[in-house]
Subunit: 379 residues, 2 copies
Amino acid sequence: MSLAMSGVSAMAQQEINPAARMMESPEVHGDSVTFRIFAPSAKAVNVAARFVSDDKAMTLGENGVWTKTVKVTKPDLYSYAFEVDGVRVIDPLNVFVARDVNTLSNIFIAGSDSLVDMYRVSDVAHGTVTHVWVDTPKEKVARRTSIYTPAGFDATSAKRYPVLYLLHGMGGDEEAWLTLGRAAQIADNLIARGLAEPMIIVMPNGNISQTAAPGETVTDGNFTQPQFYLPRTMDGGFEESFGDLVSWVDAHYPTLTDREHRAVAGLSMGGFHSLFITLNYPELIGSMGMFSAAIYHGEDQPSAIYKDFDKKLDVLKNTNNYVAIGSDDFLFDENKRFKSALNQRAINYVNVVSDGGHEWTNWRKYLVDFLPRLFNSGK
Amino acid sequence: MSLAMSGVSAMAQQEINPAARMMESPEVHGDSVTFRIFAPSAKAVNVAARFVSDDKAMTLGENGVWTKTVKVTKPDLYSYAFEVDGVRVIDPLNVFVARDVNTLSNIFIAGSDSLVDMYRVSDVAHGTVTHVWVDTPKEKVARRTSIYTPAGFDATSAKRYPVLYLLHGMGGDEEAWLTLGRAAQIADNLIARGLAEPMIIVMPNGNISQTAAPGETVTDGNFTQPQFYLPRTMDGGFEESFGDLVSWVDAHYPTLTDREHRAVAGLSMGGFHSLFITLNYPELIGSMGMFSAAIYHGEDQPSAIYKDFDKKLDVLKNTNNYVAIGSDDFLFDENKRFKSALNQRAINYVNVVSDGGHEWTNWRKYLVDFLPRLFNSGK
């Protein structure tokens, strides 16, 4: 018998449609991308994407296929979906999706430049990505954590590595920097080019009331859909648990344990967490990055983490600080006030003001800019 | 300012729809599941799922929400999608999807019994899942491999572990057993209950012409959609590279390196690979599992791997063999002939004939049955 034929039969049973691959969507050519969807009975189909600014309507051809070609304004990783008769759906021809909190979108990369090429899987030695449950004695639970180790890493060798703790935003989890943030690809590419030091990147779940990403937790017997607002995200609990995480990592990985070889950075809520971890545990942190960070908050919380903010700020005189924000970010003014406070105290920081708002296109870009500055990469 | 409000604003920019979580789909209650989708402009909406055997049509309510409640016939992990005006789409309210080759489907678990409860994330100590690139000197490329290590695993301790090599089917890759197969949850649950030995499970990419799952490979600058048929899947190349994989694993993990503590098993094409690895490298393998395996193939290939099949069969007198197949599987007769050949030679094997066909519901079930038989678990 022919196994090739068996294969067809087998897959047909598995709800796989071989015909689905007879056309391509998205088809990317340079800065232009064509979307296609077979929907002969639909009345209206749109491309649902922020980068399609004006006319989002697709056009129905005689073959039942709706198409639309758009140009992208710059090389980037883009996300999109379709709207079929008003229903937001992901592209049935594109298996590449990323979850942003509770919403799946398709993704693709268009164009090429020195930035977006860092997001691609390149022909370089790849690091390892591990999903491990970390015991946190203070909370008496294990928390799922993603850990990137660079190419060539060997747990049994004598070589020791610096560590970046990389924190997600509100609604995110330990998977966000890997999926939407392309952290593993960015680190692979920068390290392979000698632009960043080989380092371990630890991406914990920063939601103190959640032990792991949705689908990875013990639930009521089924999968629980992600929620926007979790309890206790900014009550000081995560910052207080940070020392336990560092102890665990230093006990289980060959790390350099002095503060000069330990950094913390994060986006939005994760930038907020990074700031207060640094302010409260200066003995642990040598470098700190705030990407579109929330800042002024927590004064109403009982935690000592948020007390004496102004007094603690002088801690940042002894750390390498990086503050990045988009000019359209709703947190721009908040960041401006924060930077004024730093200026008044003559506290140094790398000041990055980019285009755009509170979005992953900025956070990926900031990570590419930030990693080469860490651990005396000399860049 | 209120950061909770900021959060809404931030997420709205990220193509997240807060209103999407105002209703639930799927809503599972016992053996009954209700699907919902907001599609006021659609003309017809169906549930696209094999377990919905008869009427697949959903009903439109006055609120623009289509609903359908169905009963499932047994506790299991189920997959489904919707058809909106003829377009197969995933449920916009359910972020839990699994990719089967080139098709995404939503998944949920319904019901409870001793089998399906093994697929759930339970309140037990969890193992670690690692995605690592393995050098294969023979092929001169690195190949991405998923590795499960059990709870309590410590690379630096003196404890050594047995290893199961767990292989995917045609069109699958190193992610299939983790996503559709629930291998990590199954291993966690069996090991925590003392039903299986703590073991390392190595899940390589068994497509010799593909180094990694789609999206993880170097492509022409974009993501390349998965393909059904890859070159060289069954030409002997994977079996020939198996020794390199074992050497790498034994060099990088604290393994027990005698054949009694090494097993190989796989589904469909992976069962075929498992068989020929065992027949050709009997010094490496103590236990072998074939789940809905393809068997008679390869005679037309030049590789010595497939030569002298009948003669090599006696190798199986010295291994623990497990042969499982569904009564509706298109490979049932092929497996029957194979088992007759084993019988003629008085070769022992565990003979599992289940309901159903060539499908993940069987492969998960076989894995739950198989793991406790390995490495003298004494079950």
